[in-house]
């Protein structure tokens, strides 16, 4: 347990620095899609929700899990879809008026 705690803190600190490094280089044009993308990524809380919903637990616990699962799933679906929808709109000058979403 104890060594695991330290391992988790290590992971958290290192992941934060990777995040800072990667995000700093994201194009300023794309800050809005970046937000919806990170939104969908942090909906990885779906993992916790599945464990709580699907486990052999009392009913009231699983109800909480199911609502959480619904909320995260909504974020995953809408987050990735709207990110892609926005990114499709970014075009350079020579490809204008090209493929729009059907």
């Amino acid at each position: 347990m104890n060594s695991d705690l330290w391992a988790m803190l290590y992971v958290f600190v290192l992941a934060s620095f990777i995040g800072l490094g990667v995000i700093r280089r994201v194009s300023r044009l794309l800050y809005t899609p970046l937000m919806s993308l990170t939104n969908a990524i942090s909906a990885i809380a779906v993992v916790g929700s599945i464990i709580v919903t699907g486990g052999d637990y009392p009913l009231r616990i699983r109800v909480l899990g199911a609502i959480a699962l619904f909320a995260s799933m909504t974020n995953i679906v809408s987050g990735f879809l709207i990110t892609d929808r926005m990114l499709k709109m970014f075009k350079t000058g020579d490809r204008r008026g090209g493929a729009e979403r059907s």
Partner: protein, 467 residues
């Protein structure tokens, strides 16, 4: 064996998430990033679902289907509503974290109190405080952005606001310490909901004093909180994928919030506890100044003579849904061989990058969208600066007037252009309630009216004079 496979899959998912964000560094690769993100999430969901501990499948299926039913329409909102949608999804993220934290606490309380170590208890409390606070705070933010009737638009302030907020937060912290030390005490299960209640209340109180102009920063901060609540969930469940994905989101929100704060020359604490609205009255009074108005015909003639036009969009363009008309104007000017650029202020609009997305939607090539720092050195060479629904971000008082509440904020130097046309709905001051010195400058002419109509008329004039 199963454990090893699960962990391996989680590592693959983590790598894909990092690539997803990495590919966002240019619009040409950005869509690959979405596919990487989808793949990572799909792997994580499937692997988790396949765990031996997961035995009830019906509800999982129903919740996932429900998520699709709500999520698909939510992804099709008009792009002017993207700030609200983003705030709403932060609320969902916070809610999920809060609920899972609550479920885990009561589960372990009844079935395995030995799991509730002090460390785990701290993680659970961090998870529920961050989660529920993000939930109500983001709902409030979404309400303000959507201009829902019962959510006050203007900043709400009252005496001792910060003191009472601090007391509330201190109370929550005291209960948190008590719970961390005695997670299984007889009073613990009754005290736990109190923390939830305090976190929910705190989220509301944190957002009501914040005005629309500060929304880009606040959305970024809430983004960060939503990520951090996922991190806390990772600590509770001993799940490193949650920790890494949450940390990526947390640092993304943090960086965006810092950039937004810099673009307003304000500090974090000032945005959260400064209540921008209070200083409003100091500059609003004073002698009547006069605007010079211009007709659409006159403005069209000046535009035709120009070589270099810079369009400066602001939230007003989004409100008027004028981006498509702006693009027609862009086409008309381009046709005449005029150089047209868009000057984008980092906090223009209601969320980071808001203007870029709207202009991209109108099919304007992103190569013509120029950041504030890049365009400012060129402003003295600009023949016409056309301000479309922007206000504070072009107010020269930020450079010159030490008494102005926006003093020190970096602005787009529209006032340095040879001539300025400003489209404005009415003669009232802008969202922050500050008089704009640009409008009274010798070189500025006002075009009063709805941005969409005014630009539509401009386009008509220009189209009429081609032959």
């Amino acid at each position: 064996m199963i454990v090893g496979l699960t962990q391996l899959a989680y590592i693959v998912a983590t790598t894909l998430f990092i690539f997803a964000l990495h590919w966002m560094n240019t619009p040409t690769t950005a869509r690959k990033g979405v596919f990487a993100g989808v793949a990572a999430t799909a792997i994580a969901v499937i692997v988790t679902w396949a765990q031996p501990g997961v035995v009830h499948h019906g509800w999982i299926v129903i919740a996932i289907i429900a998520g699709f039913i709500v999520g698909v329409p939510l992804s099709q909102v008009p792009l002017t509503a993207v700030p609200q949608r983003t705030a709403l999804s932060h609320a969902f993220g916070g809610l999920a974290a809060g609920l899972v934290g609550t479920a885990e606490y009561y589960l372990w309380l009844s079935e395995g109190p030995e799991h509730l170590t002090a460390f785990r208890m701290i993680a659970i409390i961090a998870e529920i405080i961050l989660g529920y606070l993000t939930f109500t705070g983001s709902l409030m933010a979404a309400g303000k952005l959507q201009e829902v009737k019962w959510v006050p638009q203007r900043p709400v302030t009252y005496p001792l606001q910060n003191v009472s907020n601090l007391l509330l937060f201190g109370g929550a912290l005291a209960i948190a310490v008590a719970l961390a030390l005695h997670p299984t005490a007889a009073w613990a299960p009754t005290l736990f909901p109190v923390i939830i209640g305090l976190a929910l209340a705190f989220g509301v109180l944190l957002i009501i004093p914040i005005g629309g102009a500060d929304m880009p920063t606040v959305i970024a901060i809430l983004n960060s909180y939503a990520g951090l609540s996922a991190v806390a969930m990772g600590f509770v469940l001993d799940n490193k994928l949650l920790i890494t994905a949450g940390a990526l989101d947390g640092s993304s929100g943090l960086i965006l919030a810092i950039i937004m704060c810099k673009a307003m020359n304000r500090s974090f604490t000032n945005v959260l506890f400064g209540a921008f609205g209070q200083v409003r009255h100091t500059t609003a009074s004073g002698e009547e100044k006069v605007y010079k108005s211009e007709t659409v015909e006159g403005a069209a003639q000046v535009l035709e003579q120009a070589n270099f036009v810079v369009i400066i969009p602001g939230y007003g363009m989004a409100v008027a849904q004028a981006q498509h008309k702006v693009r027609e104007l862009y086409d008309q000017l381009k046709k005449r061989g005029i150089t047209v650029k868009f000057a984008i202020h980092p906090v223009a609009g209601r969320m980071p990058g808001h203007m870029n997305v709207l202009l991209a939607e109108a099919d304007i090539p992103y190569t013509d969208l120029v950041e504030m720092d890049e365009i400012n050195p060129d402003m003295p060479q600009v023949d016409v600066a056309l301000v479309v629904g922007a206000n504070d971000v072009v107010n020269p008082a930020a450079r010159t007037d030490k008494n102005s509440p926006i003093y020190g904020m970096p602005i787009i130097d529209a006032d340095k252009a040879r001539s300025v046309f400003a489209i404005k709905r009415s003669k009232n001051p802008g969202f922050a309630g500050i008089d704009n010195a640009l409008y009274f400058s010798d070189r500025t002419w006002m075009l009063f009216g709805d941005a969409k109509n005014v630009i539509g008329e401009l386009v008509k004039q220009l189209a009429g004079s081609t032959h």
